[in-house]
Assembly symmetry: C2
Homo-oligomer: 265 residues x 2
C-alpha cells in the first residue's frame, strides 16, 4: 500500500520505469494520477484486421486509443519510448484460449508478427465522477468494480463475437444527470453509461453475483448504472481462441503519457 501511495503523485514515465525494472508488479488503480490508463490486447497480425474492425464496430466497450506497428512494441501515439513488452505490471498469456502464463514481462514471447491494441479504461471517467463530487461505491468499499456478462451481443467481426460485458456503479436518482454528462465527455474511455436501472433487461440475473470483480452494496435509493466494459474485447478475443493472445492481467493496466483531459470532448 505504501509503495502504491508513493506512486500516486509520480508521472506515468516514472511508474513505467519502475514496472519495467521489476520494482512494481501490482495493480495500477490510483498510480500516476492524472494520466489515462489503457487495456492491452496483443494478437498476431493475421487476426489484427478482424479485431480492429471488431473494436471499431463496438466503440463503447472497445474504444481504440492506439494500434502499434506490426512487430513494434512501442506505442508511439500514447507513450512514445514506452515498451508494451515490459511496461505492464502483469500480463496474461493465452494459447488457443487457455491461460498458460501470467508473467511480469513478455520479452520471451515477442514476435515480429505481433500487434498491440490499447483501448480506453474506466479510470478516466471515474476520475471525472470523483472530480464532480460523486462517490463511487466500489472505491469507497475497497473492492474491484463488479462486472457482468450481458445478453447484448456485440456486432461481430470475423472470429470475434460475443456478449458485451458491463461494469456497474450505483448512484442515486438525483445524481444520474451528472453521472451521465461527466462520464459522457470521455467517449474514448467508454463514455456515457449504456444502461441505467432494470438489470434484467441486460440479462443480469443477480447483481450480487458478478462474473468478474466483486459485488458492491447498493444503498436505498440508488440505481445500478452500467457502462460498457474494457473486459469485453479481451473476453471476445479469448473466445476466438487464436493460437496466441496476450493481455494485461485484470487491474494491471498500461499507463499512458496522455492526461485525462486530452480525451475529453
Amino acid at each position: 500500500m505504501k509503495q502504491k501511495l508513493d506512486m500516486s503523485g509520480r508521472d506515468a514515465r516514472e511508474v513505467r520505469a519502475r514496472v519495467r525494472d521489476g520494482k512494481y508488479a501490482g495493480p495500477t488503480a490510483g498510480l500516476a494520477s492524472g494520466f489515462a490508463q489503457a487495456n492491452l490486447v496483443v494478437l498476431p497480425e493475421e487476426y489484427a484486421f478482424d479485431f480492429l474492425k471488431f473494436c471499431v464496430r463496438n466503440p463503447k466497450p472497445c474504444p481504440v486509443l492506439e494500434v502499434t506497428e506490426t512487430g513494434s512494441p512501442e506505442p508511439v501515439v500514447t507513450a512514445p519510448g514506452a515498451d508494451l513488452r515490459t511496461d505492464v505490471p502483469k500480463y496474461r498469456v493465452y494459447e488457443h484460449g487457455e491461460l498458460v502464463e501470467e508473467p511480469q514481462d513478455i520479452l520471451h514471447l515477442w514476435r515480429e508478427d505481433l500487434v498491440g491494441f490499447l483501448t480506453g479504461c474506466s479510470f478516466t471517467f471515474e476520475a471525472a465522477l470523483l472530480a464532480a463530487g460523486l462517490r463511487i461505491a466500489h472505491v469507497e468499499q475497497g473492492r474491484n468494480v463488479p462486472m457482468y456478462v450481458t445478453t447484448r451481443e456485440c456486432v461481430p467481426s470475423g472470429p470475434f463475437a460475443g456478449p458485451m460485458v458491463v461494469s456497474m456503479r450505483p448512484f442515486k436518482a438525483g445524481e444520474l444527470p451528472l453521472v451521465v454528462s461527466a462520464s459522457g465527455r470521455y467517449p474514448s474511455m467508454h463514455g456515457a453509461p449504456v444502461h441505467i436501472g432494470d438489470s434484467e433487461t441486460l440479462g443480469i440475473r443477480d447483481l450480487a453475483e458478478p462474473e468478474f470483480g466483486e459485488p458492491v452494496e447498493i444503498e436505498e435509493g440508488q440505481l445500478p448504472v452500467f457502462w460498457a466494459c474494457g473486459v469485453t474485447p479481451q473476453a471476445v478475443a479469448m473466445k476466438a481462441k487464436p493460437p496466441l493472445i496476450i493481455t494485461h492481467s485484470p487491474g494491471h493496466m498500461f499507463i499512458t503519457d496522455r492526461r485525462h483531459p486530452e480525451y475529453e470532448v
Copy 2:
C-alpha cells in the same frame, strides 16, 4: 434545385432509393435533413488493415463510422439494407492513383475482396452550428467549403501517409466558444476545430487559394476556424496508389439512417 428542395424533407431511405434508381445523381448537401452523411472509401482487403489503422491513428480527419464485411456492400450498422454499390449519387474510381471513371454505380466494379469504409462528414456539425444560431459563410455565399492541404503530417500506417487536409469556416471572436462547444459534441464527425486563426502555422499560404472547394469571403472581425477534413483519408489513399480505390465524388455523400443526435456526445 427544385429536385433538391423536394428531397430535404425526405428520409434517408427515400433519398437512397431515388439515387439507386438513377433518379438523382447530384450533391447531397441539404438532402434528408436530420440524417448523418458519410464519406466513402472502398479498398481491396489487402489494404484494409493498414487503412483502418490509419483512420484509428488519425481520428480527427478520419472518424470511422463503419467498416463493411469483406465482399459485402451492405453497411449493416449505419444503414441496414442499403447498398454501397448503388446508393451514392456519384463515385470516383482510381486505378494506381489515376482517376479512371466517375460512374453513378459501381456494380460492374464490385469484387469479393472489397471493403467499404464510411467516415464522418462535416454536415453533422454544420447542422449543430446552424441550430446554435451561427451563420456559416460558405452556405450563405452558396459555395463549397474551402479546403486546404496543411503541413501537419498524419500519423502514417503502412502505405498510407500524408498531410492533414482541413476545411475552413470563418467566425467572429465572440462566436468561437459556441463554435468549439457545438461542433465538439460530435467527435465522430470531425468534432471540435483543430486550429483557430493564424493559418500560416498550418502551412497555408493564401486563404484565397484553397486546394479543394471554393474560397469564401472573411468579414472584418472574423477569424478562420479550421476543422480536420474528410478529404484527408481519400487524399492519403489516392497517394498510396493501390491498384483500385473507389470513393464518393466530392459532395456526393452516402446518406445513413442515423440521425445527427445519435453521434452527439
